[in-house]
């Protein structure tokens, strides 16, 4: 069951256009790339904590190597995060950073969530 859900979110990610949703209350306009829980976690952590190493991000979001690298790659492909790989002595070090376009997408997503909450408050 978990596998099925995972596949579903991955497919959602693939179809997504990374930027722009004119109508805030239409579900189709939601930035699905950020909407997925772990990816939302990655973007939130980078927005607040600055650049973070793979291992720190893993600890912070209490997830696995595989899960984190899959979702981080999706964000990287969309241009939301930048990834730098370097060596520290012999151990490789991967560091993630939010790009300006990633920050804009995150802010847009926040606005979107706030608008949803606001619309509900006004409606009730």
């Amino acid at each position: 069951m978990a596998g099925k859900a995972r596949r579903a979110t991955l497919q959602e990610g693939r179809e997504t256009r990374p930027t722009g949703f004119p109508n805030i209350t239409s579900p189709g306009s939601l930035d699905r790339l950020i909407h997925e829980r772990l990816r939302l976690g990655i973007v939130s952590a980078l927005a607040s904590g600055g650049p973070l190493a793979f291992s720190d991000l893993k600890k912070l979001l209490s997830t696995t190597d595989g899960n984190l690298s899959v979702h981080a790659r999706k964000l990287e492909e969309a241009g939301y995060v930048a990834c730098t790989k370097s060596f520290e002595g012999r151990t490789p070090r991967t560091e993630y950073k939010l790009t300006p376009s990633g920050r804009r997408a995150f802010e847009k997503y926040l606005d979107h969530m706030e608008a949803l909450v606001h619309a509900m408050r006004k409606g009730s």
């Binding site: 976690g41 927005a47 607040s48 904590g49 973070l52 949803l116 619309a119 509900m120």
Partner: protein
Amino acid sequence: MTKAPPALHERALDNLRFIRETMERAGSFTAVPGRGGMAMGVTALAAAAIAALQPTESRWLVVWLCEAALALALGAFASDRKARRAGHALFEGPGRRFLFGLVPPLLAGALLTAALARSGAVAVLPGLWLLLYGAAVVTGGAFAVRIVPVMGSAFMFLGAVALLGPAAWGNVLLAVGFGGLHVAFGYVIARRYGG
């Protein structure tokens, strides 16, 4: 404009909560100031050199107490600046977790210092300072990047050496700890975790 169904609204609230919690955790993760630590290390090295030249124990003590006050001010200033840069106030933002973990062992150290200095047991002070400062950094850094509690443990180890080893090592161990460890770990934190 269509009304959002309750489920959507609930999920939006839940998402906002999740974002907030994650940002807070990530912030406290890197709130420890690296460059501030390096500055504290440099002043400690200078203090160790000056303290070693003092003819009496009480003058030696005064030098280190001045250094403690200076380091405290530097640390507070650097933490505040780092918090501000991340868009938080020092005591409202994520850095408060670090500070509140840091304060109780430091307070215990200050009181023990007063009591021991009064009874003339100055020789145990270097070990006590290193041990309790280390404990403070370990507890304060429990939620921070791993390097912070590791630095605290290194301080505690030096404290143990100072308490169990010959009293003559005290001043050198203070230089190694408050000077060396601060500069080395501060450099790594500044490079990797935003200043």
